[in-house]
């Protein structure tokens, strides 16, 4: 049993032993941990909810080909044990210390030259996002640059100089002083990761379990049925950081590699529940374009690197973005416990507002998506107040099967229209067997508007939701007939 958290910071292995640091607890966020250190105050809190990116740091972990993989994350949402076995890189680590002055990293140097900083408060986060971009892309396209910066709010500059800095700086094939130390860091990380015993942490009334195998995860799940399961923690962490709730018991499955597998057969795709949204986004690009399209505008890169597909399904939020798409695609959820596995259709799995049919001893292990026949048309549209890094107001997802211009099957699923993701059954029924024409669709839109009674909230009024949901059906119609 491991009783400490270990990671690499400032090129050294740091060991956090909670018994020795009474001011820290296992769910202390990486942000608060860093800010408690004398020399890592560059990292800032702007919101404590993953929406501003001022807390952005980079974590490096061993990748497939014996190289380090660098990922940007929001440190305000990550609990300390989640970076076990990783290198934590902060804004203080990016420049080299010269004799008199700092030797700036290319991303820093260029940001200075383009006037990419004004008040400077968002800057450490921006620098880390640029550093992540630098390590992962050479001469990135504008689309990639904008995606890399979506998670960083800046209230001063208007972003243009930051975009310019990204384009100018990221031309080095990722080479920098980190490249030289890669082997050394890798061996430190591998030495930490060689220990596969479950981590069990305790501080005061808080207990934290971090297994590294599925078997252990399932055993702990059964043993501690009240422990809160976390995978990416982008949903759960908010209970602590925003609602200020005390989390007494955590089961952190982020270290279980078996949950991060992807498989493909002749008839289906299997996404391990622990795959990050970013990984699923990349995997679905050529395979399931409709899912890819929605994942491209899911949160920000920092969020997508943390958030998992299992977490999105597990949180069963009425505005969870994958759910309507998974409904439309006819996906299933594989759940496991020590006593076996079962496969549940996604629609049956989601049972209410943030409620699932998961038993107390089960974990989601895979999201299974059947392959679509080629002639089947799919579509999904996310409507939000702001184009990016916003939660859906309404998300509509559609699947259509036509035979000779007549609807043989249609699935219409919405997020944001009810307390849970919901299909428009009446509208589906109405359309089935009818001609797929604009006149019919317009009639269907009226039925649709009567089928839901959405709420008014911070994002929009009910009337807006009703109108938009109907319009999305028309949008889908136009898309299926115009291309």
């Amino acid at each position: 049993m491991q009783k400490t958290v270990r990671f690499v910071l400032d090129d050294r292995i740091v060991e956090v032993d909670f018994a020795r640091f009474p001011e820290l607890k296992p769910t202390t966020t990486v942000l608060n941990y860093l800010r408690s250190l004398p020399f890592h105050k560059g990292v800032k809190e702007g919101c404590a909810e993953g929406d501003c990116g001022a807390c952005t740091v980079v974590v490096a972990e061993p990748g497939e080909n014996g190289r380090l993989v660098y990922k940007v994350i929001d440190s305000c949402l990550v609990f300390l044990p989640m970076i076990h076995g990783k290198q934590l890189i902060t804004v203080e680590n990016i420049a080299l210390t010269g004799k008199k002055d700092k030797i700036l990293h290319p991303v820093q140097q260029v940001l200075v030259e383009t006037n990419g900083t004004q008040c400077g408060y968002c800057t450490p986060g921006i620098v880390m996002s640029l550093f992540g971009l630098y390590k992962n892309h050479s001469s990135p396209s504008l689309e990639i640059i904008e995606d890399a910066l979506t998670g960083n709010l800046c209230r001063c500059t208007g972003y243009r100089p930051i975009v310019e800095a990204a384009a100018t700086a990221c031309t080095g094939n990722g080479k920098d002083h980190f490249s030289e130390k890669e082997k050394e860091i890798l061996s430190m990380l591998n030495s930490i990761l060689s220990g596969k015993e479950t981590m069990e942490l305790k501080q005061g009334k808080q207990r934290y379990f971090k297994p590294f195998t599925l078997a252990e995860a399932l055993r702990l799940r059964k043993q501690h049925p009240h422990a809160l399961v976390i995978s990416g923690s982008t949903d759960v962490a908010l209970q602590q950081t925003k609602k200020r709730e005390f989390l007494p018991e955590i089961l952190d499955i982020s270290g279980v590699e078996e949950l991060k597998l992807f498989r493909e057969t002749g008839t289906e795709y299997g996404f391990g529940a622990g795959l990050s949204i970013e990984q699923v986004k990349l995997l679905s690009e050529s395979r399931i374009p409709v899912l890819h399209k929605i994942l491209k505008i899911f949160g920000s890169l920092q969020i997508r690197n943390l958030a998992t597909i299992g977490g999105n399904v597990g949180s069963a939020s009425p505005i969870g973005d994958t759910l309507p798409v998974l409904f439309a695609l006819g996906a299933s959820v594989m759940v496991s416990s020590e006593s076996g596995e079962r496969m549940v259709k996604i629609e049956d799995f989601i049972t209410g507002y943030r409620k699932t049919g998961l038993h107390k001893d089960e974990l989601i292990t895979e999201i299974t998506v059947p392959k679509c026949q080629e002639k089947i048309k799919t579509g999904a549209y996310k409507v939000s107040k702001r184009k990016d890094l916003d939660i859906s107001t309404v998300l509509g997802a559609f699947r259509l099967n036509l035979k000779d211009g007549v609807v043989t099957e249609i699935v219409i699923a919405y997020g944001g229209m009810a307390a849970m993701t919901k299909r428009a059954m009446k509208t589906e029924q109405f359309l089935t067997g009818k001609e797929w024409s604009r006149e019919i669709v317009v009639l269907a839109m009226e039925i649709l508007a009567g089928e839901f009674s959405p709420i008014s909230d911070a994002r929009a009024e009910a009337e807006f939701r009703k109108t938009v949901s109907a319009n999305l059906l028309l949008k889908f119609y136009l898309e299926t007939t115009h291309s």
């Binding site: 006037n115 008040c119 400077g120 209230r155 200020r244 939000s384 990016d388 319009n471």
Partner: protein, 768 residues
Amino acid sequence: MNLPHDSAIKHVTGESVYINDIPADERLLLGKVVYSPHAHARILRIDYEEALKVKGVHAILTARDIPGENQMGPVIHDEPCLAEEEVTFIGQAVALIAAENEDAAQQAASFVKVEYQPLEAILDLETAMEKNTRIEVERKIERGDADAVLSHAPHVIRGKLRTGAQEHWYLETQSALAVSGEGREMMIHASSQNPAETQAVVAEVLGIPKNEVEVEVRRMGGGFGGKETQGNHVAAWAALLANATKCPVKIHLFRDDDQVMTGKRHRFLSKYEIGFDDNGLILAYKVELNADAGAAADLSLAILSRAMLHAENAYYIPDILIRGNAWKTNHPSNTAFRGFGGPQGMAVIENAIDRIARFLKKDAAEIRLLNFYRNDHNNLAPYGQEVKNNHLHMMYDKLIGSSEYFKRREEIVRFNREHEFYKKGLALTPVKFGISFTTAFLNQAGALVNLYTDGTVLVNHGGTEMGQGLHTKILRIAAAELGVGTGQVRVNATNTSKVPNTSATAASSGSDLNGMAVKNAIDILKSRLAEVSVAEFKKKTKDDRSRKENILFHNNVVSDKENPDRTIAFPDLLKIAYLKQVSLSSTGFYKTPGISFDKEKGQGTPFYYYAFGMAVSEVVIDTLTGMHRLLRTDIVHDVGDSLNEGIDRGQVEGGFIQGVGWCTTEEMKWDSTGHQITHSPDTYKIPTVNDIPADFRVEILKDVPNPGTIRQSKAVGEPPFMLSFSVWLAIKDAISAVGNHETEPDFTLPATYEVILLSSEKLKKRIG
């Protein structure tokens, strides 16, 4: 010249220190504010006995514990520091806690029991007007007889416009660190745009003289007006706790608390009537501006005043009546925000002109051109000031050409004809913005410049750095005036002990005022040094051909213009001056000349000069979802002779994008009890990198020196904010296209996806 921000390297390495990063000793306590959950209520009882028992809690204070005056209203004393008998808004401070850590503070806060008796609350402008909660009397600016002209005008359009509140969303939330010193001394590290006022407020609540309070501002993580008065609040609270515990106390507001507790840009509800002829020439304009002041006056009257002074924006209107009222409501007191009322005043006329164009079936840009102020005639503002050096026509020609306005207009017409659900829109809007505090006496500044014998310079001035690059501009001014390298000059943190009695860094006036004060100090020093050098040349050459007025400071060398071989290195001269017992330190002072404004009469010369700008924006909207994209923006902006092009461009772009946020996605919503429902970035959406124009072209106007200012420059902080009306009205133009421009669309500010969608739907139904 493009000198990067003087803190840029510290910013990118994470070394720049903000309040929350200041290393403090182990006695540091965290301050927490317990605030009202009611928009209006009587406080019956406060019981914090349980809370005091929480381990790690050092003090809990309520109004009764304030040693000085329970006041922090900046202009009118109507804002208690801690609520005593009544709370008048949600977020109003009721009790303060000092604790050793966040958890203890949090727990203690949950144990503070406040018993309230809820009272009726006024939560919108209509109710406030009905209940007549006006602050002071109605204000008026009037010329001619608008009513009479309107009654004969060929065409009259009437309407109402709502403009929304805006949250500052400075990345660094309100914060302050108070360190009590010997006796009653209090040192405040503040995030404040107005350290002198922070000092005054702290002195007042502590009941001590100002000379015992020192306020220092190194930098702010953004201000935008939000820290002009409301940075004082956290400072006062921290000071009270530090005074009570004799420990350093830091308050750093949690984001949601900051959004709930602090004031916003004022919501306005405006009514207007505009009369015009067949060509679109405006004959008369009547406008009534109603501002939601919130629970206290704060700066509302000055903001209202600026809204009124910008009600006509860039247009000459012969007969005009501008009326303004600020109304109290039970919301946090609304406050300064970039533009300071200007945007709210201008939005109304810009929208009215847009309506004229639709009515006359003409291009709105042409109507604007027709009505611009002119240089030789039609150049008097409604309040009697002459609009001089007006670049409007020149900018218009430039922009119409460079943006290919009319060609794109045709393309857009074609696009809209070919697309049923996507519509494009285009708009050009101008800005004429008056520079100076409209409260005339505030137009003053001080500086203290120290020269050291190694040739380096330390500049202190009254302005504060909030990211706008003021210190960098000052640094450049000082270097240029002294003829030394920028590397030799450093600008100090702003400190009330170094430069006292200063005005807020606001009204875009930071470099105008402080730059001049620094120049004044340097002129004094140069005069002393010139004398020393004349004496030195005389000693060397044994003649007295060198004269003081011929001494030049250039390239780190001091020389005699008439006798170029006579030179002395600047650092050497300083050493000599020191040995000769000449003071190497001087204060400087500046006041803007010729400014006066009679509020009662609504007449005078409130501004030293005007800044101009113009923008053309193109958007595309999706009428099925209400979502939009900003395709292209072309800006031409006037900054006089730029003090720093990189920084000025940053102000133009940043101000514009902040305005785009206000005009589009930044929607502030409250529930029926007055609780904000958009109290975090989860639901309050400021622009991201994807919301900037896909094609963004900014031109800083060249060869337009501004006479009478520091290095012939112009202020730049606020004016560009209002260039965002080009986006707002381009969206309206796109919506209007749904109804083939035949019907006036429903429209407000912000034009959210909801406005776009529902307004488009209405037009769709109308055309069938």
